[in-house]
Symmetry: C2
Subunit: 372 residues, 2 copies
Amino acid sequence: MQTPYVIIDLDIVETKFRELSEALHSTELCYAVKANPGKPVIERLAALGASFDVASVPEIDLVLSCGVEPARISFGNTIKKQRDIAYAAQQGITRFTVDTMSELHKVLAEAPQAEVCVRLFHDCEGADWPLSKKFGCGFADAKKILIAAGNAGCTTGISFHVGSQQRNLDAWLAPLQLCQQLITEVSQETVAPEFVNLGGGYPGSYLDDTPHISVYGDAIRKSLYDVFGGNTPRLMAEPGRYLVADAGTLHTEVVLVSERDIDARRWVYVDCGVFGGLAETLGESIRYRLHTEHDASAPASQIVLAGPTCDSADIIYDKAGYFLPDNLQVGEVIRIASTGAYTTSYSAIGFNGFAPLAQGYINIVAMKEPAV
Amino acid sequence: MQTPYVIIDLDIVETKFRELSEALHSTELCYAVKANPGKPVIERLAALGASFDVASVPEIDLVLSCGVEPARISFGNTIKKQRDIAYAAQQGITRFTVDTMSELHKVLAEAPQAEVCVRLFHDCEGADWPLSKKFGCGFADAKKILIAAGNAGCTTGISFHVGSQQRNLDAWLAPLQLCQQLITEVSQETVAPEFVNLGGGYPGSYLDDTPHISVYGDAIRKSLYDVFGGNTPRLMAEPGRYLVADAGTLHTEVVLVSERDIDARRWVYVDCGVFGGLAETLGESIRYRLHTEHDASAPASQIVLAGPTCDSADIIYDKAGYFLPDNLQVGEVIRIASTGAYTTSYSAIGFNGFAPLAQGYINIVAMKEPAV
């Protein structure tokens, strides 16, 4: 396999799924396919009993082609063409997310018996990537949409998203309080919303430390208990990054190590850049762990890491202040850890003529730890 | 053809090539293939006598497959794998750009009779997209590399780039003065550098007015005369955006018009976003002209324009303050002008399952203007 490529360890995907299931027990986990649409990933998660959150018709076709029944697929994109809703309904999909009345009308026209999820806007303090106002509506709109959907005979629920790579363990409390209040008020007018979708935000293992997923689980279950007491609604979640990020390792070759009179630092150019799969390094907000073939104790100095294209914006890390070994050579491979999420699917189709990032899989039979 | 797609008018590509040839007369124009690698674009430009600037082996193969002779191809990427230099040399390509001594050694090893272009760093005041320090070296390094290449028997020259969408007409003067000084100093040590590559930076027609290309041409030729007098070196340029941007029109369908209680503005969601080809709107630095099917005098109000993916960063224009007609409807097509450059090739291979941006071509026989 020629660099650059990502190798996905499917056993790690399985481990992550089991850990998150344990942490959020009794929560239906809908894998957000956009994080990594590799077919072996979907097949492994399907075998474990996962459900799936899809964004488009091609993602619906992909998940169905892996043998997943339509009842386990949720069309979670709030932005859908009416003909795509019709197509989904024809395939037997009944779960749709909306955040505006006009989108509800599209869904009711094509899938009158739908399970409708209304997405609440939430501003995401504590997340490495807080979300914009692109998705979600406020309390007043959510109430109107839930009442309209309930009156139309739909099962309803509420979703929110605390932001990507969320590191504040209490981030789920405030939106859960809003959900509880919505359920109370809506149930005075029509059928009560019956589920809450906890969204995503569960982290990958990048340079910054994050708590273990069990710590997240404890905090979220405490928030649920504080808000709902023993009367918790049916729960869903939409993990993407958490399930696949740590399963992936990106392999990229050093093309050029450059020392120039315009910068005191070495510039290390590799064959994968921000247009070839490392788009999440834009703004240097996601800082991956880098591994070289050299000993960690080898003398090292600060570098700028950049991609292979003729685009001056194709710089992976500049201000982040990475160090790499002084004797790093052209032709060596740098392994970039936790690159299983939002890499291959973000990759440009052919910018500068470079092929999209490839993906391979390993699938090692789990070995028991030796007895001590 | 299903939206989203770009239509390229090849006659406009031809017109732009003729205008730039006229503006920079006696300058060899090397089309920067990365701007739009569509085969009909390359074939049209090849028929007009263009040369080509390529960034990678697949771009070399593409240009050769259009019948272009290797002597008209320049491998202008300063970041090249040694085996890719070897491949290029095997195909008969002799023109390579470098900005560090280690890259020169790679070139000398694989293509000892190369024509070596040394890229000077230049900070790009006045450009909408100034360049980073990714490319180019300072005067001292450039002098060393030019002397080493000259002593190795290579023909040499100097390139620089004033930044993308450059709007300061005097931007070429300072780097030309450096080139002149380099030529003088290097020729005291070895064979004189014989060409200057003026790079790119010639603008597309976005919302902000830019001068006509003939005004650029006048300014650049005046700078050349001021620096070199009658003794101008052989000239090249690497236009990309200028030749193809205005030839392209992107067609995208309105998927959702959303009014929500969290924002006083309408949000208009279309089926092409920043991951589907509109990557240059990141940071809202390139502001395209939008056209709807409605009369320009129709009542309009401020909107946020966003793409179709489940990614909160997929917002095309927010702060830019665009207005669209109040009666814009779901299902209508918005045409985005001057989208022939850096759109299809930037498109993600399948983020959220959406297909990469398609491209079609029109090729209208030019009609004479009616006599007045």
